[in-house]
């Protein structure tokens, strides 16, 4: 990033917050409906110092971590299977692509009936959200390995374990990492939404409670926190992606 673009990246949100604050000060909207940013910041500080925010973030992150790992492993395995086996692709491909078109949130009512609104439900929703993009990226990644690279392996009579570890996996890493990154932020968004709908703790539940008690400042504090965490997750995943694919032409 150039210094100018760095300044712009900070200045634009600051200007927006300033306009927001000015709109509140103008008195055109009731203070309870349009909460000023200063109030949101105060609430955020209070939530943080009471330890409440930390608890909600911890709960959400735990669900995200557990569900994401399970969903990613399942997605990798499934994507690789349908990419490598024509039979598996024929059997599960269309079904998978049809399910992929269903918003993950649409599974909430059914999952709530089966799993209740406790941890298993929220972990399951994260698993679902992570599974699809990762399976699809893995499928594309494995299918996208050029035939010519297999020919090189045949010429040098590379053994299967070497073919898998040294050629097949590195060749699919860029596509799979992109899928892992997209799945991570997607899973985070879906988790917050699910917590809004049905939960007893977590960032989404904190926001839902705020809404019910007409504490818009708490709702907005939740918006800020989920946005910042989502942004940090994406940045972190991008950094991992760049490090792992340094060999690529920049």
């Amino acid at each position: 990033m150039t210094p100018q673009s760095r300044i712009a990246a900070v200045a634009a949100p600051l200007v927006l917050i300033l306009l927001w604050q000015l709109a509140c000060l103008s008195g055109a909207f009731p203070a309870q409906v349009l909460v000023p940013p200063s109030e949101v910041a105060r609430t955020l500080a209070a939530l943080a110092s009471s330890g409440e925010l930390e608890r909600h973030i911890g709960e959400s992150m735990f669900r995200l971590g557990l569900g994401y790992v399970i969903g990613a492993l399942a997605g990798l395995a499934f994507g690789a299977t349908i990419a490598l086996s024509r039979w598996a692709e024929a059997a599960f491909g269309p079904f998978f692509l049809a399910l992929w078109q269903v918003p993950v949130i649409a599974f909430v009512p059914m999952l709530v009936i089966f799993l209740g609104i406790d941890e298993p439900f929220k972990v399951a929703i994260v698993i679902l959200a992570a599974f699809f993009p990762i399976a699809l990226a893995t499928f594309d990644g494995v299918r996208g390995v050029p035939r010519t690279w297999f020919e090189v392996a045949r010429v040098y009579r590379t053994r299967l374990p070497d073919l898998v570890w040294r050629i097949l996996i590195p060749a699919t890493v860029p596509a799979v990492l992109t899928g892992l990154r997209l799945a991570l932020t997607r899973a985070w968004v879906v988790l917050i939404a699910a917590e809004l709908l049905a939960a007893d703790s977590g960032i989404g539940q904190m926001m839902e409670m705020g809404r019910q008690m007409f504490r818009i400042d708490v709702v907005l504090a939740g918006v800020v926190v989920s946005g910042v965490i989502g942004f940090a997750l994406d940045r972190g995943a991008k950094a991992v992606e760049r490090r792992a694919t340094r060999w690529r032409t920049a």
């Binding site: 690279w149 090189v152 010429v155 040098y156 040294r166 050629i167 590195p170």
Partner: protein, 281 residues
């Protein structure tokens, strides 16, 4: 039984024991849109150990297909391809190939790419690094061991691919238009390198190219092929010792001859442009 080693330098005596290729009555056809289409038709060629053969011809004359058959990437053919008496049915570390695109793996360094070729050999692990270093030196890429392919120029990447192909010490090295994607100056440079490498290694080499000058500069013999289906049209002996001088009159005379042969062929009805309405009278 009684090899006469006195009359030859030792390196050549060693090479003489290996890398003899015989191709007899080779036919190959592909099925295109349900109909078989002959790509190679009645190819016969005997390559002496340590010989450098160039193959030239218009595109579609099956020269790349021929190399794929020899290297063993395609085993469906009729006729015989034998290396030192053994029929070729699959790939082998006895036969190396350099493709037009270098096909180095982008996530491996130059050293790792070359070492990959040694993975399925019984070369002791301790010796591998030395062998890789020797071959990097052979193609003059010292100092680039840890470079990634995207950091190499086209000519360097192609030399690296040559090093990878030679690291298993194949009896026979196949070169499928290895210099086709290089600019003119780099091309001349890598041609010189290739000649030097071949003189140092003395393994049998077969290079496909569509550059007649290149074919003559490097080849002991130049096989001229004609397309549809691919046939050997003529084999030209280039009776000049290596290293060669590019300005040798013989090379220029042969070049004119081969070019005339490749361009001024009798009109083949299949290749005529048919104008609409004139098909039938």
């Amino acid at each position: 039984m009684f090899p006469d080693v006195r009359s030859r330098p030792p390196a050549e005596a060693k090479a003489a024991a290996r890398g003899a290729l015989t191709i007899s009555d080779l036919d190959k056809s592909f099925t295109i849109a349900g109909a078989p289409r002959a790509v190679l038709d009645g190819v016969n060629l005997t390559v002496k150990p340590g010989e450098f053969i160039s193959i030239v011809g218009a595109s579609g004359c099956g020269k790349s297909t021929l190399l794929r058959l020899i290297v063993g990437l395609d085993a469906e053919y009729s006729g015989e391809i034998r290396l030192d008496g053994e029929r070729i049915a699959t790939t082998s570390l006895d036969r190396g190939i350099v493709f037009q695109d270098h096909r180095l793996f982008p996530w491996m360094t130059l050293g790792q790419n070359i070492e990959l070729a040694l993975l399925n050999t019984d070369t002791p692990k301790a010796r591998r690094a030395q062998i890789v270093a020797d071959h990097i030196a052979l193609v003059n890429l010292q100092g680039f061991e840890t470079a990634y392919p995207h950091q190499l120029s086209g000519g360097m990447a192609q030399r690296a691919a040559i090093a990878r192909a030679l690291v298993t010490e194949p009896k026979l090295l196949l070169l499928d238009e290895p210099l086709g994607a290089l600019d003119a100056l780099t091309r001349v440079h890598v041609q010189n390198e290739l000649q030097r490498i071949w003189m140092a290694q003395r393994s049998t080499m077969i290079m496909v190219t569509h550059d007649v000058e290149e074919a003559l500069y490097l080849g002991d013999r130049v096989v001229v092929m004609s397309p549809n289906p691919g046939r050997i049209r003529r084999i030209v002996d280039v009776d000049l010792p290596h290293p060669r001088d590019r300005s040798a009159p013989l090379l220029h005379r042969l070049k004119d001859e081969i070019l005339a042969e490749l361009t001024a062929r009798p009109a083949d009805p299949a290749n005529l442009v048919r104008l609409p309405g004139r098909e039938e009278r």
